[in-house]
């Protein structure tokens, strides 16, 4: 049953005041709603070196009321594997193990350990919060950065390549549950974590997490930026349950009504796109349209089967 009102969300806050994340952080809001969907005291979070490390505070103080285990950058999938195995071997039951890594820790340095964990069918949820670059180290290019984006390692020419389609790689592992989300759609996000919690096996949730300092937009525009990404089709909200694809939330509505926003509408409020060329805008629009049409086709095909 879909959550229809924020009033239905649990009131308990597991993230207290005093995190070290930036104002208007898309990850922070994502984490807040994810933890509301998971069981208090029964959630173990595995974290690589990332904005998540910073969010969790500086020793000996942490503002997050969970069991968090920090790990080296490349190790998230393997550490989660070890946590799951250790809990099982020592008879600790009823825990949900959730890994939270950024796009650098997922698309790039962590992909080997992640693929290994998925292939072994490790019973955990892996969350990639995609803020489209190495934001914690100061906005360097990752393979999730979009074409035309200025980063501190593509400072003059901007990124020349389209972002990697990570979800397709994840899908090749035939997981029981894959979903995308956005902090701008917290009810959809909450429902997906709630559902994922009760699925057995490896689960993947990819969240498009707008980053005010990294993308160059005012903190107050966080929700707006996340919504524009979905409205334009840059980010699409969907889930795949045992291979069955369906659009959700705003993306589902857009499937029926059609998209009104373009890539140009999305990029104009972000200073990282200040050097994007008209050709690159066309490329990004074409990449977005192609992907949207593929997903739309899949949605209608799979919902027709039902």
């Amino acid at each position: 049953m879909a959550t229809t009102s924020v009033r239905q969300l649990p009131k308990t806050e597991l993230i207290m005041p005093g995190t070290r994340s930036c104002a208007g952080c898309g990850l922070m809001l994502t984490y807040r709603h994810a933890l509301k969907a998971l069981d208090e005291g029964k959630t173990i979070v595995a974290v690589p070196a990332s904005c998540m490390t910073v969010l969790h505070g500086v020793y000996p103080i942490t503002p997050v009321n969970v069991i968090c285990i920090n790990n080296p950058f490349a190790a998230t999938g393997a550490a989660a594997t070890g946590i799951v195995a250790g809990l099982k071997a020592t008879g600790k039951t009823g825990y949900t193990v959730v890994a939270f890594a950024g796009d650098g820790g997922t698309y790039d340095i962590g992909i080997q350990a992640l693929s290994g964990a998925f292939e072994r069918r490790v019973n955990f949820i892996y969350v990639c919060y995609d803020n489209e670059g190495y934001m914690n180290t100061g906005t360097q290019r990752s393979s999730a950065s979009p074409v035309g984006a200025i980063t501190s390692t593509t400072p003059i020419l901007a990124k020349l390549q389209q972002k990697k389609e990570m979800v397709k790689i994840v899908e090749a592992h035939n997981l029981p549950y894959i979903a995308t989300g956005s902090p701008s759609y917290p009810l959809d996000l909450f429902d997906k974590f709630k559902f994922a919690k009760n699925v057995e096996g490896s689960r993947y949730i990819e969240v498009h997490a707008p980053c005010p300092p990294g993308w160059g937009f005012p903190n107050r525009n966080l929700i707006k930026m996340g919504k524009l990404a979905v409205e334009s089709g840059i980010h699409v909200l969907f889930e795949i349950r045992d291979g069955k694809f369906s659009l959700t939330s705003r993306s589902l509505a857009l499937a029926n009504k059609g998209r009104k926003k373009t890539v140009s509408d999305y990029i104009k409020g972000q200073s990282r796109f200040r050097k994007i060329s008209p050709e690159q805008i066309s490329e990004l629009q074409a990449f977005t349209d192609k992907r949207w049409n593929e997903l739309l086709e899949r949605h209608f095909k799979d919902s027709g089967d039902a």
Binding site: G41, K42, I44, A46, T53, V54, H56, G57, V58, Y59, P60, I61, T62, V64, N65, V66, I67, C68, I69, N70, N71, P72, A74, A75, G77, A78, A79, A80, T81, G82, I83, A85, G86, L87, K88, A89, T90, K92, Y95, Q112, A113, S115, G116, E119, R120
Partner: protein, 395 residues
């Protein structure tokens, strides 16, 4: 009661892990370590060993997963060699910093490039400064016994332990090994004490970001900074020298075998000269010493069993009064000497009297080392040749 079996050091290592009732094993295959992982996998699949076996996709993940499993309260084991160990490098530091009591079998092999699968000790020596204890074994019995001792030690001091033994020379050579009974091992090694605190569901942030200076906690208690944690690791590693000795003594009480703690001696009582070495090469040095004794030269052997922590004062006590000391080792610190010779010479610096010293790098990449060569080099040292040399190299 145990029973004598004809087994390789790799099988001895697998038997030891089983006898220690390890709960999580994670490993990635690399020659010459592979039989350890295969035999443990079979034990787990057949139900002979109740444990989780993780078939990881790399050595980095092997160590990452056992660190995490240990953090949630499991007794863990892994094994590797050569480039696999090097691939773990980041996780080696992470494991020691995490203060997790992992025991890892390191089957010594030369490292590429160029490729060799044969034995030397460059792999573990190059991981010297990662905060692990390193124990070098001279035969398969010692491998089995040291893994059992290793868990006792690691769990007492909360520091990971590498049990190192020579690839092929020991790993693939079958010899008689007294395999103790489960009862005996249980008497020596209690069930794993779960210190994770996970079961209480208490919120925690394990291995967070930390500042260099001590910082007040929420209850106004001053907590350590990064440097204090590093100092505690160093202090506890140094203090472990005594614990290594006591664990070896207690082991001897239960099993009737002692391995000498940090160092072992061979015919040193009346010796004027010593050969110092590590691992199976140190065993071979005893043959060279016997050959020299037959020629009337009073030579003994000091075997370095524990390389980290380095038993510096004991080394100094054993060697300072001698006329000469010759070092043989299967590693080099490029640009200087062999690691054991360097450390032993530093240990001798404080002594009022010091022996004349020569050091040899030998047997890299499986190059055969014969006792005659060791005896010859030792005689040269006794005859006044000092300095650093490579044995049996054409240049």
């Amino acid at each position: 009661m145990g029973q004598v079996e004809i087994i390789t050091a790799n099988t001895a290592a697998a038997f030891a892990a089983k006898l220690c009732r390890v709960q999580v094993i994670s490993a990635y295959p690399i020659t010459p370590q592979t039989p350890v992982t295969e035999e443990l996998a079979e034990m787990v699949e057949s139900g002979a060993l109740q444990a989780e076996y993780i078939t990881v996709e790399s050595e980095h993940s092997a160590l990452a997963s056992v660190v995490a499993a240990s953090q949630v309260g499991a007794r863990v084991f892994t094994a590797t060699s050569a480039n696999g160990l090097l691939y773990m490098h980041e996780m080696l530091h992470w494991a020691a910093g995490s203060r997790v009591p992992i025991v890892m079998a390191c089957v010594n092999r030369g490292v590429g490039a160029p490729w060799t699968i044969l034995n030397d000790q460059q792999d573990t020596i190059s991981q010297r400064d990662t905060g692990w204890l390193q124990i070098y074994c001279r035969n398969s019995q010692e491998v089995l016994d040291t893994i059992i001792q290793g868990f006792r030690l690691a769990e007492q001091i909360q520091i990971p332990v590498m049990v190192c033994y020579d690839g092929f020379v020991l790993s693939h050579a079958s010899t008689p090994v007294d395999v103790p009974s489960q009862d005996e091992v249980d008497r020596f090694l209690p069930r794993f004490l779960d210190r994770s605190g996970i079961n209480g569901g208490t919120p925690m942030n394990v291995n967070p970001l930390i500042l260099s200076d001590p910082r007040l906690g929420p209850d106004d208690k001053l907590m350590p900074g990064y440097m204090e944690f590093r100092f505690m690791l160093q202090r506890d590693i140094l203090n472990s020298l005594q614990i290594i000795e006591s664990v070896d003594r207690e082991f001897s009480d239960v099993f009737g075998r002692s391995w000498g703690g940090s160092l072992w001696k061979y015919k040193m009582e009346d010796a004027d000269h010593a050969i110092v070495s590590m691992g199976s090469l140190a065993s071979e040095c005893t043959i060279a010493a016997d050959m020299l004794r037959d020629r009337g030269v009073k030579v003994g052997v000091v075997g370095v069993r524990v390389y980290r922590p380095f038993p510096a004062s004991q080394i100094s006590e054993y060697l300072s009064h001698l006329k000469t000391v010759t070092f043989f080792e299967k590693d080099v610190s490029y640009g200087f000497h062999g690691a054991v010779a360097m450390d032993a010479k530093a240990a001798l610096y404080e002594s009022a009297s010091r022996p004349s010293v020569s050091s040899y790098v030998v047997g890299l990449g499986g190059r055969d080392v014969r006792p005659e060569q060791l005896a010859e080099a030792t005689i040269n040292c006794i005859g006044g040749s000092t300095g650093h040399h490579w044995l049996d190299v054409r240049n």
